[in-house]
Amino acid sequence: MSDSYIDLVNSPLGATLAKKLGLPKPVRLRRHAPNQPLTTGPVLILSDDASRLDADAIAAALLPWDLDVRRDTHLPEEQRWGAVVVVLTGITHPGDLVTPVLALGTTLRRLARSGRVVTVSRAAGADLDPAEAAARQGVDGFLRSLAKELRAGATGNGVVLGDGVDATAPSALGALRFLLSAKSAFVDGQFLHVSGPGADNPSWERPLEGKVAVVTGAARGIGVEIARTLARDGARVVGVDVPASGDSLATVMNEVRGTALQLDVTAPDAAERIARHAQERHGGLDIVVHNAGILRDKLLANMKPEQWTDLLAVNIEAPLRMNETFVELAHEGALGRSPRLIGLASTSGIAGNRGQTNYGAAKAGMIGMTRALAPVLAEVGGTANAVAPGFIETEMTARIPFATREVARRLNSLQQGGLPVDVAEAIAFLASPAAGGINGEVLRVCGQNWVGQ
């Protein structure tokens, strides 16, 4: 589904009109392409005094990424900042924010299209000194507000380090790299909490080399892009979808050189069959992406029993049942050295959506399940995370009536719908070794939708 409004407001006449009428002016977001530079311009590292050591370490870590790393806000006239990283790991009082934040403010007019602002800070906890907690929590409100001020496809996100996690731990840098890159095009106003060190990716080009991933619902929509993206990153992909979608599934799986497994995820032995297929065809299984889902929108007052039960059966009960088996396999060591369970949640499960009580229950259920699975997976060196898409341009959302769709698209800081690949990139990141220190998280891919966090 193309967004013709974006084309319009980016044409000379459309741009003038939009400006005169005060209409939203979304831009085409920069997205990942092979061999492109990580950012479109120099990267500025700012920090408060207490965070200087971490800032130095991060600056040093960024150099091998072929970035033009700067520590000074001076920028030649013709240049634009590709990104500004604000390191705030040492702040102990809200007053510590003033210097780096005001310095950041002076750079914003020179931020490139699809530029990046990324904060690196530490988690606020109840066991902290109140002033330190206030400072750390302050970053949250500051960044979310700033993200709403950024224009032209620029995003603001943060990396939040847990206790004992080094600022240059593989997962801290992995999260930072993801947020700096075009892969996070539609992630805005979000924090990635890093609770463990994680592991180095074998390479940034093919971080999933040697891994086997299963994607349910891989025949169409977001599932197709997830399969493509995981394959691009080096994974062998098993695509699962209901037998009735077998032809589209075959096309997708042949394209990504994976294998197709025609299977209804609500079957009692679905997980066993997936594991057997992955073992037989690819010699193992490392990554499970629960993407299969259906919609049965209806106001609760009008909802038929099967509209509730069918949806819950596919969208949450099936992943729950399958995960019982996958967790068992993980504990037997049959899910690789760092098992990954990734679920598709939705902003409907966070903020709610009229006509989607069933969907909201299932998607919020997915979030609950993910958080409960996280400590279980941590025991075996694995992770469980969820990705919550907002308005994504798919065949499904293309069926929403025009006016409703136009409004829904603009209700986020980037003033446009995301693409399936944006969701896929987030999943591929969470599946990568470098995301091994990220566990129990719900990463929103919503362009900072105005509702929910």
């Binding site: 695509g239 037998p243 009735a244 979608s245 077998g246 032809d247 599934l249 075959a250 096309t251 799986m253 042949n254 394209e255 050189r257 994976g258 294998t259 197709a260 497994l261 025609q262 299977l263 079957a267 073992q279 037989e280 065809r281 690819h282 010699g283």
Partner: protein, 436 residues
């Protein structure tokens, strides 16, 4: 039989649901259907971009332009374009012949992995112009002077433009397949009731197989079709009994063959992945069955002494004899349902002492076919019969049944399965598969 170096194994298979003629696949060519079927197989076994040693396939109703049908389908598929391919044709046994050919190459060590396949479209059938028109056109094309050209053009008549529709009549007798079967049906005294009951069971057994997900890893949907279009799970003896006979209306015996107990014209394609055990092992694939042996027999139908579709009654005993087996050794027997009466007449002939003595030179009947082992998941009456695709459908079904069974219920060792597919020209191919 003499020992063969090794046996080929059936790794797996794929087909598209079979459509009724002029329906879901009416605008799909043999090449379209074969390509989609190869793609489904490639996706199931991760063969995209893989070079296979050979692909054999064919079609019975074939356009002249499709001389390279299989190679074209391979080029259009996800398989490595370096995969060679060739066409095969043996009427309704084309699919089986293709599978057998690839199996034999594997057995001889000439190939490690290949695909035996078939496709047929009764909807997209070639239209032939009248013989006179064709000859005139060729003459016109060869003509050199304007006068000569004018001469040939003047010979063209509007009547020549009426196309000659393809049919399935036997060139030597002028009789259609149904009329031939009607003669056999009358000869063996197969009743209308027996045929209808048999057809009903075929539909019910196929429907039950679908219900238990039997085809989930044997089939890939195509053009919105997810099940065979001919399948009528809710048909009944009453409905079948209400149909008017269509064949054998001019015989002295009562006409018994209807559209309900005859196989409908169909469109579809099937493919079977075959390999050596070594190839399958290296890939970690668990093969379903191995290909033991096969025989093709033919009958003298033009003389009127034998039924056109009774080749199975000759092929089966020959195959059993050289493998030292009896009908009772098989856990499953698959006899292609060209017509309900074909199966019933073949079963009757196998059990008949006179037939054994007069036709087969045996002292006694070949044996009884246990109805509980016969076409246990239904066959062509319910699935439809796109000619060259039927062999692959049956091999896939039987291989999976054998894999499910494992050890035989009727003999020591792995379960055995027997296939017989009758074909135009009075031929039939029989094949034995063994569970892995």
């Amino acid at each position: 039989m003499p020992p063969i170096p090794r046996r080929a194994v059936v790794v797996g298979a794929n087909r598209i649901p079979f459509a009724k003629v002029g329906s879901a696949y009416r605008h799909a060519s043999n090449a379209d259907m074969l390509t989609a079927t190869l793609d489904g197989l490639a996706a199931r076994y991760g063969l995209a971009g893989e070079r296979l040693d050979d692909v054999a396939a064919g079609a019975v109703l074939k356009h002249a332009r499709d001389h390279g049908l299989t190679r074209e389908a391979v080029l259009g598929s996800a398989l490595d374009p370096h995969t060679p391919a060739h066409d095969v044709q043996r009427a309704c046994a084309t699919g089986l012949e293709a599978i057998l050919g690839i199996s034999n190459k594997i057995a001889l060590g000439q190939a490690e992995v290949g695909i035996g396949a078939g496709a047929d479209s009764a909807s997209d059938a070639p239209i032939v112009v009248s013989e006179q028109f064709r000859r005139n056109l060729l003459d016109l094309n060869r003509a050199k002077t304007p006068m000569e050209k004018l001469k040939y053009m003047a010979r063209l008549r509007p009547a020549h433009l009426v196309p000659v529709a393809p049919d399935v009549a036997e060139p030597r007798t002028g009789l259609s397949m149904g009329e031939h079967q009607a003669l056999t049906t009358a000869e063996w005294g197969i009743t209308r009731e027996a045929q209808d009951a048999y057809a009903l069971a075929s539909h019910q057994k196929l429907a039950a197989a679908y219900e238990r997900g039997f085809f989930d890893d044997l089939m890939t949907p195509y053009r919105r079709l997810t099940r065979d279009e001919a399948l009528r799970p809710d048909t009944s003896l009453e409905k079948l009994g209400g149909l008017k006979p269509v064949f054998g209306k001019h015989l002295s015996a009562p006409a018994t063959m209807t559209a309900g107990n005859s196989t409908p014209l169909s469109d579809g394609a099937s493919a079977v992945l075959l390999s050596s055990e070594e190839w399958a092992d290296a890939r970690g694939f668990a093969p379903l069955a191995s290909v033991v042996d096969a025989v093709t027999a033919a009958v003298d139908f033009p003389s009127g002494k034998e039924g056109l579709l009774m080749g199975g009654a000759r092929a089966i005993p020959r195959l059993l004899a050289r493998n030292g087996l009896t009908l009772d050794d098989f856990d499953f027997i698959e006899i292609h349902e060209a017509f309900a009466a074909t199966v019933l007449a073949t079963v009757a002939a196998l059990a008949d002492d006179d037939f054994a003595r007069s036709r087969l030179g045996r002292t006694s009947a070949v044996g009884q076919v246990d109805p509980d082992r016969l076409n246990v998941t239904g066959s062509s009456l319910a699935a439809g019969h796109p000619f060259a695709a039927t062999g692959g459908r049956i091999v896939a079904t039987l291989a999976k049944l054998l894999a499910e069974r494992g050890e035989s219920h009727h003999r020591e060792g792995p379960a055995l399965g027997l296939i017989s597919v009758c074909a135009a020209g009075g031929q039939a191919t029989a094949m034995i598969l063994e569970a892995k």
